[in-house]
């Protein structure tokens, strides 16, 4: 799957198995599968590889049309021939994160020691663990340095982790709509999602595989998530107070409003493609994320980074507000790192990095082109 990708091309996920992965919590996971997709072609010098990092509920299917589902990738508007991540020029890789449920080993995977799914015996993982596994994938490709690590939201956290954990393997990092550490508010929203799942009797201590999954809890968790991904303005534009298929209130608790219908629909859809235990593990990994770590300050943590940074935030993103990106940019400046930053105007809230991509596209394209030119 290393051919050039024409628009709308059918893509398939691949899987590679690694013997073991040492985790931040001291445990070792063995073996570990990683699901990935690639787009474009790796050049002979292996200098044109870009690792795209997905957000919380994303997967390896970043671009093209999935052979399995028939759906376009989650960043299909950004990755492809002539797009921001131009597959005529670059070799783009995206893998499902550790703890995920879309082909990479996670709590729904079978533990070879028991023959049963890990469920809650799966070790608690971190963003650092996810990145360590991605680095094994990059080593597997024999890529010495990535031209770019790029992602929004949790993908941006991974990009930052890459820049600090493997500075000599990263030429540029593009953390978008993200933070160097989860705030109390971000942890709080994740905790609501986790509690919704664990409060569902079907969750059953995480042991629901082959039985009824905690669909109601997971749907509620997703509904909360969707609220945080939108903005007051985008919800007003999209739904307002419009009623769903009726002229008057029902004076009951069925769906009255469009927004209720939308959230219920999104919640019920999510249940068909996402594992509740993955929700618990991945959201916890995000909450644990703090680039500062043992370094005392963010600036000290970024001392290790080397390459160029392109940081982007969005005006209406209240889940990952611009001040968090600005904090990151200030810390990079204090170490005199090469950093470009802009706050883009958008009404789409946190979702902006996925949907409002026109301006993002020009910047990413120019930033990558200038860097790639200097490199070759």
């Amino acid at each position: 799957m290393m051919g050039v990708l024409p628009p709308g091309m059918i893509v398939e996920a691949n899987t590679v198995r690694f013997d073991s992965l040492a985790l931040d919590n001291g445990a070792t996971l063995a073996p570990v599968d990683v699901a990935y997709e690639t787009y474009g072609a790796l050049n002979a010098a292996k200098t044109n590889a870009i690792l795209v990092l997905h957000a919380f509920s994303g997967d390896a299917h970043a671009a093209g049309i999935s052979h399995e589902t028939g759906k376009p990738g989650w960043w299909d508007n950004m990755i492809g021939p002539g797009k921001a991540f131009d597959t005529d020029l670059y070799f783009v890789i995206c893998s499902n994160v550790l703890g995920g449920c879309r082909g990479t080993t996670g709590p729904s995977s079978v533990n070879p020691a028991t023959g049963c799914p890990y469920a809650m015996t799966f070790p608690v993982i971190t963003i650092g663990d996810m990145v360590r596994l991605q680095k094994m994938l990059i080593d597997f490709f024999g890529i010495p340095r990535l031209l770019a690590v790029a992602g929004g939201s949790m993908g941006g956290m991974q990009a930052l982790e890459w820049a600090v954990a493997y500075p000599d393997r990263v030429v540029t990092a593009l953390p978008i709509a993200t933070t160097a550490r989860h705030s109390a508010q971000q942890i709080a929203f994740n905790e609501v999602g986790r509690q919704a799942i664990m409060a569902d009797p079907d969750w059953n201590g995480g042991d629901y595989y082959g039985k009824q999954p905690p669909a109601r809890g997971l749907a509620v968790a997703r509904m909360v998530g969707h609220i945080t991904y939108m903005s007051d303005e985008s919800m007003r534009e999209k739904f307002g107070r419009r009623l769903r298929g009726k002229e008057t209130f029902s004076f009951g608790f069925d769906v009255d409003f469009e927004v209720e219908s939308y959230l219920r629909y999104r919640g019920s859809q999510f249940v068909t493609r996402f594992d509740a235990n993955s929700y618990l593990y991945i959201s916890k990994a995000m909450d644990y994320f703090d680039l500062t770590g043992r370094n005392g300050t963010l600036a000290a943590a970024l001392e290790r980074s080397q390459g160029r940074f392109l940081v982007i935030s969005f005006t209406s993103d209240w889940l990952y507000p611009s001040y968090q990106s600005q904090e990151l940019v200030r810390a990079l400046r204090s170490r005199n790192r090469d950093v470009a930053y802009v706050e883009l105007e958008s009404n789409y809230g946190h979702d902006a990095f996925l949907v409002d991509v026109a301006e993002q596209t020009d910047m990413v394209r120019g930033f990558l082109a200038a860097t790639f030119e200097k490199l070759s």
């Binding site: 200030r330 400046r333 204090s334 470009a340 930053y341 802009v342 301006e359 394209r365």
Partner: protein
Amino acid sequence: MKGLVREVYGRSDYAIIGEIVEPDTKVLDLGCGEGELLEWLAVNKGVDARGVEISGARVRRAIARGVSVFQSDIDEGLADYPDLAFDYVVLSQTLQETRDPRKVLREMLRVGRRGIVAFPNFGHWRVRMSMLVSGRAPRTALFPYEWYESPNIHFLTVHDFEALAHVEGLVVERRYFLAGHRKVALLPNLLAEVAVFLLRRS
């Protein structure tokens, strides 16, 4: 993009700055607009080029050019940098727009080994004439705005800048005076439209 900076952008102060900046140095351009000068310096002089710009739209276009620009206010944007982070800090046609020019100048020469300041000369004879004749806030090709919509909040002449540099203990290494694309040799405070100073701390 290759070629004389004046031919590329038609800005004579850019031509001087392009002349002053040594190859393979680190340059920070304050109020860099869409990053034209920085791009030219990066391509033609191998400069490690960075910029600060307040307008999001201009920052976007600068980044699309491949220049590392961050969106910030100049009056505050320098505070995070360590001392002597750059070989040159450039302030081109912006000093008169800053809230606290003195602070900006001090910060420039804390962060940079050298400062390059280009500004429109309010002492030019056309400005003087305009005010003398009309009795109103001067409007010339160089200062085209009505007083109420002008971005210029501090007006200064060549003499004013020389005096401030002296008070601040700054060494003027080179000074250039321009009228259009010509260099002015005599009576710069009267004849120069734009002045460019290369400064360092004493």
